[in-house]
């Protein structure tokens, strides 16, 4: 069925090495999102799984069989393209039928499958229209419909929402998630949008420059980023990164010095650090809180009020490092206001500045799954 296993996959276009030793396994029925900045190789990886690109080396298995030499059609996959790639000269019905006709399905079976997919996606009224007569959202659904009628082992989505406007994107996101819950087929979804990744995925694969940075469930990756890149990539606004040092290691664990004498407890593994070690501290904007004492002095520059929440932009008073602080509700500090802020307990991430890797935590038990390659 829809298991996928990639082993030491490499891809080079001429001298340009675009994928490095990719290992990944996907369980049947899983919703996996490949996410990363543009040029990270996520689309190439998807196209390799689809059979649209050859691998330079490595092995691809779908449902336990090696599909490396098989054509896309023989891999039992279906794909939804970024531009939808609907055949512009064919009606919606013919678009849906084309693949099944090529596979020599019986007419009655083709009609039944089209009817079923059209019902599921609510595109029955458009079946005899041409793609150009449809709105963006309708085209999107037809593109998904074309994949559904094939009843594939794996669905592949290549940034399918990037051509939709913001409101439609949220709606379609939910529809795809619901579709997945309904048909329970393996889906692999490529996007550069971390919100899509966070909201849809059972499992996220973060790629950068042709390498897998981290694999795990959305919250694992959010709470326990393996390195600075993952930490910065997930979450919006980005995680604040400030220079810091290990203040000391006591019986209750290590403490970290954020400057201004703000020394706070942190839950790094005391064995992994030594006092005075220079580190980078990462704190998400939402994980700051205002404190009466013991906080870090922060000077407000300006703020953005979104009604239900407020983002305060400013800098640390001493080092001038820029910081974003998230506040719930209304909050209107005038420019130049000095505030004392501190990370919420357990929400401070500590990274090694040279390797950019997260420094191990005390509660190592929770790091399950947050390891490269799963």
């Amino acid at each position: 069925m829809g298991e996928l296993k990639l082993s030491s996959l490499n891809k080079a276009f001429g001298a340009v090495h675009v994928l490095h030793d990719i290992d990944l396994s996907v369980k049947d029925g899983e919703f996996v999102v490949f996410v990363g900045p543009s040029g990270c190789g996520k689309s190439t990886l998807l196209r390799i799984i689809a059979g649209l690109e050859d691998v330079t080396s490595g092995r691809i298995e779908i449902g336990g069989r090696d599909v490396g030499q098989l054509s896309p059609a023989e891999r039992k996959i279906a794909m939804v393209f970024q531009s939808y790639a609907l055949y512009p000269h064919m009606s919606v019905r013919k678009n849906l039928a084309f693949g099944l006709e090529n596979l020599k399905f019986k007419r009655s079976e083709i009609d039944a499958r089209i009817a079923e997919a059209a019902r599921m996606l609510a595109i029955e009224p458009y079946l005899d229209r041409k793609p150009r007569q449809l709105s963006g959202g309708q085209r999107q659904r037809v593109a998904i419909g074309r994949a559904i009628v094939r009843e594939p082992d794996i669905f592949l989505f290549d940034e399918p929402l990037s051509n939709l406007d913001a409101a439609l994107r949220v709606q379609t996101r939910a529809e795809i998630t619901r579709l997945h819950q309904q048909i329970k087929t393996t889906m692999i979804y490529v996007t550069h949008d971390q919100v899509e990744a966070m909201t849809m995925a059972d499992k996220i694969v973060i790629l950068r420059a042709g390498r897998v940075e981290q694999v795990g469930s959305p919250l694992e990756l959010f709470d326990y980023p393996r390195n600075l890149f993952v930490a910065g990539f997930l979450g919006s606004p980005r995680m604040n990164i400030v220079r810091a040092s290990i203040a000391g290691i006591g019986p209750e664990g290590a403490s970290i010095d954020l400057g201004h004498g703000a020394v706070l407890p942190c839950d790094v593994d005391p064995a992994a650090v030594r006092p005075g070690q220079r580190v980078l501290a990462g704190i998400r904007p939402a994980h700051f809180q205002r404190v009466e004492e013991g906080g870090v002095p922060f000077v407000v520059q300006y703020y953005e009020s979104l009604g239900t929440e407020t983002y305060v932009y400013g800098a640390l008073a001493e080092t001038q490092e820029p910081i974003i602080v998230h506040e719930t509700g209304h909050f209107a500090p005038p420019s130049g206001t000095r505030l004392a802020i501190a990370p919420m307990p357990g929400r401070l991430h500590v990274f090694d500045p040279d390797s950019e890797l997260a420094i191990a935590r005390r509660d190592a038990g929770q790091r399950r799954g947050a390891v490269h390659g799963n």
Binding site: G51, L52, P72, A85, Y87, H89, F98, N102, R146
Partner: protein
């Protein structure tokens, strides 16, 4: 809509409203003069092609195809020409019996018994508008013109179909695949644009001899099928078809050939139409190559037939012009309907 345009406003509608200067007048003179220059020889040939044999060489020529009206008068074997005669200040129509010098002997068709003699310089023939359809029907029946027509249609249709298929296939390969030598092949094909037929016609004929297609319509068709212009035009168009469509079709289990005819060909329809129009024009009008390849009369195309025809019947202009007009007609009709398409197509591709 055209009917509602006020002619004065129409002529006055130039670049600057309300002011007509000398350049506007010169422009209009140029355009109208040019239009007349284009039309006059064509229309003149058309009008002449409808004149009967006796009328066509008359000098100075009459503008419209007319014949002298004739009447059968009792007592005379041949039909007599009808003339307008003025006798005693009264204008009458009389038949001419004979003419001697400046005197003409006329009879009244109503009263043939009493011929009168009148000054031949004062009479003028009674003419009426007639179209000499025999100019068209005779060559079609007596000469091989139907055969020429049939050959021309055959060459045009078959060559156009083959041109579309062969060049579309090559353009597909050159636009949608990356393969070893793709650039070299493209350059090779485009470089043949530089070699006009006139340069290789002698050895090309020898190749035709070699493959046994001399004096055969296929010998006219096949050498012109692979067209660098066609490949180039179609390739440029196919490059605009998104690659994702082709990949989608591959995921949809279509064979490469099926992708070609079910996806790429329908989407290339506009460019194929342009190439088809040009191909039809090339073949229909082609002269030098068929002239070299074809030698026997039953294989002549219309153009070659027309050329041979004028050599043989150098004085029979009524036939020649009728056939000329017949061969010009399809092109004119096509142009009337597809004018916009053709001119924009040519402006866009720079070919003809």
């Amino acid at each position: 809509m055209a009917g509602t345009i006020n002619p004065v406003a129409f002529l006055g509608r130039t670049r600057r409203r309300g002011r007509i200067d000398i350049t506007d007048i010169l422009s209009w003179l140029w355009l109208i003069g040019g239009t007349i220059a284009v039309l006059v020889p064509v229309v003149w040939a058309g009008l002449s092609s409808m004149k009967p044999e006796a009328e066509i060489t008359r000098f100075p020529p009459s503008l419209l195809p007319r014949t002298t009206q004739q009447v059968v008068v009792p007592g005379y074997d041949r039909p007599l020409g009808l003339w307008t005669v003025t006798i005693d200040g009264e204008s009458r129509e009389m038949a001419m019996v004979r003419r001697i010098g400046i005197k003409a002997q006329m009879v009244d068709p109503e009263n043939p018994a009493a011929p009168v003699s009148v000054d031949a310089r004062t009479i003028s023939p009674v003419q009426k508008l007639t179209i000499a359809t025999e100019n068209y029907s005779d060559p079609l029946e007596r000469f091989n013109f139907l055969t020429y027509l049939k050959n021309s249609v055959f060459v045009t249709v078959v060559a156009t179909i083959l041109t579309l298929i062969v060049n579309a296939m090559a353009a597909f390969a050159l636009s949608k695949y990356r393969f070893r030598g793709d650039k070299a092949v493209f350059v090779l094909i485009i470089s043949t644009l530089m070699i006009p037929l006139t340069v290789v016609m002698v050895p090309a004929y020898m190749v035709i001899v070699g493959v046994g297609l001399v004096d055969n319509l296929w010998g006219v068709i096949i050498p012109t099928v692979a067209s660098p212009t066609g490949v180039f035009l179609l390739r440029q168009y196919m490059l605009t078809i998104p690659d994702e469509l082709i990949e989608a079709a591959r995921v949809d289990a279509a064979s490469e050939f099926r992708i070609f005819w079910r996806i790429v060909l329908p989407l290339t329809a506009p460019a194929l139409a342009v190439l088809a129009i040009f191909s039809v024009l090339w073949r229909w009008n082609d002269f030098l190559w068929p002239l070299i390849v074809l030698s026997s009369r039953e294989n002549f195309t219309l153009q070659i037939g027309l050329n041979a025809f004028q050599g043989e019947f150098s004085v029979q202009w009524h036939y020649i012009l009728a056939m000329t007009f017949l061969s010009l007609l399809p092109v004119t009709v096509v142009f009337l309907f597809l004018q916009k398409y053709i001119t924009t197509g040519i402006a866009g591709t720079g070919m003809k």
